[in-house]
Symmetry: C2
Subunit: 564 residues, 2 copies
């Protein structure tokens, strides 16, 4: 590409509305441009990167004999009603009516439609296994889009679905995708961890996530200092290692606690530690108010809570809801005598004589014990903390932040049953198909790579996905020799189908160098005054190293770059 | 691809809900599957074809130095309000609200967004020209989706937009796209005509369409027996060759015409020809009732009518509307004394003493002349008929049906002005950018090729876009020699990266042959009993010809097929 004859721009100013370093760089490099909240235009320089990511994914999918197809994004709402997911997705799914008032949604993920697509009369066990995938646009009406391409509302996903006759077939298919994803992430140059995760609205038997490690990651990746344990914070078990208290159980006593509302204030009032308290958190869970009791020094894990209740959505109860079930002002909820179901964290079993809210304004109860109230269920409800015990080896847990770039789901027969995807087995009996589902977010991969591979001057794309691997920069357009040599090199590249930049713009060399650094071209040939002595300058974007190189030697260097 | 280990199916039965031969074949060949009205899933076999079409288009666009990018489909409604097209598209555009009640549409075409994308501060005349394109999903809420992939509501379009500093620049850019489109259509194997067309809701200076000739084409392509004239019926001028009548003008006379309502009945009643009548057609045009007067033997051309009135939509007036402006039952409208604006076709100027409806039930007026009523405007309002005079050479016009597979628009400065895309010229003055817009519908191309290239047995894809160029079919899986030779050939192809089908299914040979014919594989190698004598059978799908070929010679034949 000759820059003088192309659409090319970079921005000197920082983007006003970007909340991460890497998204700001992508905007400044002319790779993306915001169109609306959580909706971006992928500009030509960015499309180069995205297409290369797409090709890597396609190659690795094809290598596993997956077959590509293409589904619509505009899908009759009925399809999701049939699987029971219309409600689960709720307002996260964009929905609309057509001119005849038929209801449609914009597909957030395509388990249902792939089941429909591959269902047909007379399907036999001989027709399995197979793997179908697409690289297609998805829509999710996120409450809070952020971090550039990381949390957006329209994005391209590679979603694959496997179809097998039984669980062991699914295991094989799943492991193939696991391998393919590792290869993809490696080729993208991502530093990542594979973690066990919640199956969530997707359902199924198992889910694992590919988490690209990053300080702006919204997920917490839990690891262990002692073993290879790794898990998403959402589902990590709090190992129940607390010992039973050997105190004698005392009788409950209501205590006036004026002006003490936060747990710290109440603890100070009683002269106790936070861990001597039981916190009662009130939530609206799918429309019903629920109390969750957890040790005073812990946080509630909402994923575990939702799972325990088989619910879709939860949010903190409103003031009105709190007052209705506690008959008191906000801040004094407790499990004793509250007017709503109580779920209790299992660690509380070991506690004695703890302090709780009294369900009366400005009052707490001390010396409460488990016999004093009746939880609906006792379970692991807490978030693990860094330094907690590893569920696998007992050593200490560590935390890192991660961007979820891919995920794998063993779905089992959930969708085949709801969408009527059955086959006839060897005994002529109808059986549900075993499905798996496997996603990679393309823009999110691009953003994660950008996040892991940049410096203050711009992007440092890995060679395989750089928009261009090489830039040829003549220093002075007035110097005929420089121009000629730059053009010769460019023509050489064209002949060899090496897609390179010739920066033949009439700009100062400093501007050109800065632009090539900003867009993250791995290698640069500077054609400057050295040409008089037959010399060029070779610059490596990764190391910053500059090397003098003889003109006659540069051709083989170029070939090396394109053989990478 | 080994069929035994792949997702592969064909259907013996005709599709119940397809209204064209070619769409039925595409469904039966397992290439497409209907998801909803006007919304299809492109199944793996169809995706192969579609991807090849996509690659051809991308190659030809890149050859013209167009740069690819990617826009969202979910676009703030404001964007179309700003350009004035929100109303023009009306209910043809899908629209929706997000969770915060912000209004969005699903983009039907992206002139606005490309103008926005390429506008930035300090744009100078030196930054031009450039050409940006995308291959991206479009949405149109068609009233009547039909003919399989031909008129759908979700489809992929390659849309390109050129940006120039002046009209002569636009001309150059336009001509480059004209060339690229010819190359694309040629490579797709389409028989097509390029016709002048209406600029419609798009606006601008000029539009041309690429019409693939087909009996199911919804457009009428007007040609000429004597010259290269070609035009869409919508805009073809009716040459005004009628001579002034030399009759003397008589006085109007109201005549009772009981039981005669159609023009044929009234003509019979009067003993006159249809051409002695002036028809008055009542339409609701953008909400207003309008009368169009045309010669009795002609049809109204709605495109011309809309253009004349600068209107967006028109439909036949309702019974109530007709009765309101005529004060009579439906069927007796006439220009004399009607309570609505009248537009008159220019040929009527030459007529004398014609018959019109009387605006009274069961009555007509005879001996009407142009002086007897006052049209708002006189213009060319009629549809040309086959055999009419060519506007270019005067010989006779001919009609063919066409499927619009591509179009070119010289937009001028309409969108740059409304979307604020200006540049600074050499004199430091702000000037609006000159834009062009160029579209190709990918699925529609696929459908048009299918329509032009099939027989009773299935598809006959041109080599370059066939899902597979070659199929290797062992006749008997029990014959070890056949299986070995088929596998050898398959391995040879794999080594050479020739993407072929090995039909290793345990099916009767007839089933396999029929399937390969249905999906339209151009060449087939049958590995049968002949292998004992070192012979294979080579079948050409286009000619049906079968040739015996020695095993040692088949390798070079295969290479030839993949060098095509």
């Amino acid at each position: 590409m000759k820059l003088s004859q192309s659409f090319f721009y970079t921005l000197r100013e920082n983007a006003k509305d970007e909340d991460s370093v890497s998204s700001n760089l992508l905007v400044r490099a002319g790779m993306i441009k915001k169109c609306s909240n959580g909706i971006y235009m992928i500009m030509p320089m960015g499309k180069k990167v995205l297409s290369k990511i797409e090709n890597i994914i396609r190659e690795e999918m094809d290598a596993k004999d997956a077959q590509e197809l293409l589904m619509p994004a505009l899908i009759p709402e009925d399809v999701y009603v049939q699987s029971g997911r219309r409600e689960a997705f709720g307002s996260n799914m964009f929905s609309l009516s057509d001119r005849y008032n038929k209801r449609y949604v914009l597909g957030p993920t395509h388990e249902e439609l792939f089941a429909v697509a591959s269902s047909m009369d007379g399907k036999s066990y001989k027709d399995f296994p197979y793997n179908l995938y697409q690289i297609q646009t998805k829509y999710r009406d996120e409450t809070r889009p952020r971090y550039g391409l990381i949390r957006v509302r329209e994005f391209i996903m590679k979603d694959a679905y496997t179809f097998d006759v039984d669980e062991s077939g699914l295991d094989v298919a799943y492991n193939k995708m696991y391998d393919a994803y590792c290869r993809i992430m490696d080729r993208l140059g991502l530093e990542y961890k594979i973690v066990k995760a919640d199956t969530g609205a997707m359902g199924g038997l198992l889910s694992e996530e590919y988490q690209a490690l990053s300080s702006i990651g919204e997920d917490v990746v839990v690891g262990c200092v002692g073993c290879d344990y790794s898990s998403n914070l959402e589902i990590t078990e709090v190992v129940d290692t607390m010992e039973d208290s050997c105190e004698e159980e005392l009788s409950m006593e209501v205590v006036d606690t004026p002006n003490a509302k936060t747990i710290e204030e109440v603890a100070a009032f009683f002269g106790k530690k936070e861990s001597d308290f039981v916190k009662t958190l009130l939530y609206n869970v799918d429309g019903k108010v629920i109390a969750f009791c957890i040790p005073g020094d812990r946080e509630l894990n909402e994923t575990k809570a939702l799972k325990l209740l088989g619910a879709n959505e939860m949010e903190m109860a409103s003031f009105e809801e709190v007052e209705k079930v506690t008959h008191a002002r906000v801040g004094f909820a407790g499990p004793v005598g509250i007017d709503c179901p109580v779920y209790m964290d299992r660690q509380i079993k070991h506690m004695k004589n703890f302090i709780v809210g009294a369900n009366q304004s400005d009052r707490h109860i001390k010396n409460v014990n488990c016999k004093d109230f009746e939880p609906v269920e006792v379970a692991d409800l807490c978030q693990v903390k860094e330094g907690d015990i590893c569920p696998k080896c007992g050593k200490k847990l560590t935390f890192q932040h991660g961007i979820e770039v891919g995920n794998l789901f063993k779905l089992g027969t959930k969708y085949s049953k709801s969408m009527n995807l059955y086959y006839t087995d060897a005994n002529n009996q109808l059986q549900p198909v075993w499905m798996g589902s496997y996603g990679i977010g393309l823009e999110r991969c691009m953003a994660a790579v950008a996040d892991q591979h940049h410096d203050d001057f711009g992007m440092k794309w890995p060679v395989e996905i750089a928009p261009f691997r090489l830039a040829i920069v003549p220093v002075s357009l007035k110097d005929e020799e420089q121009v000629k040599i730059a053009n010769d090199l460019y023509e050489f590249c064209k002949e060899h189908k090496f897609d390179v930049i010739l920066d033949d713009r009439n700009e100062r060399p400093g501007v050109k160098f800065k632009d090539m650094e900003l867009i993250g071209v791995p290698y640069r040939i500077t054609v400057g005054r050295g040409v008089k002595e037959g010399k060029l300058e070779w610059t490596d974007r990764y190391t910053g190293e500059k090397t003098e190189i003889a003109i006659e030697d540069v051709y083989s260097e170029i070939e090396k770059v394109f053989a990478m």
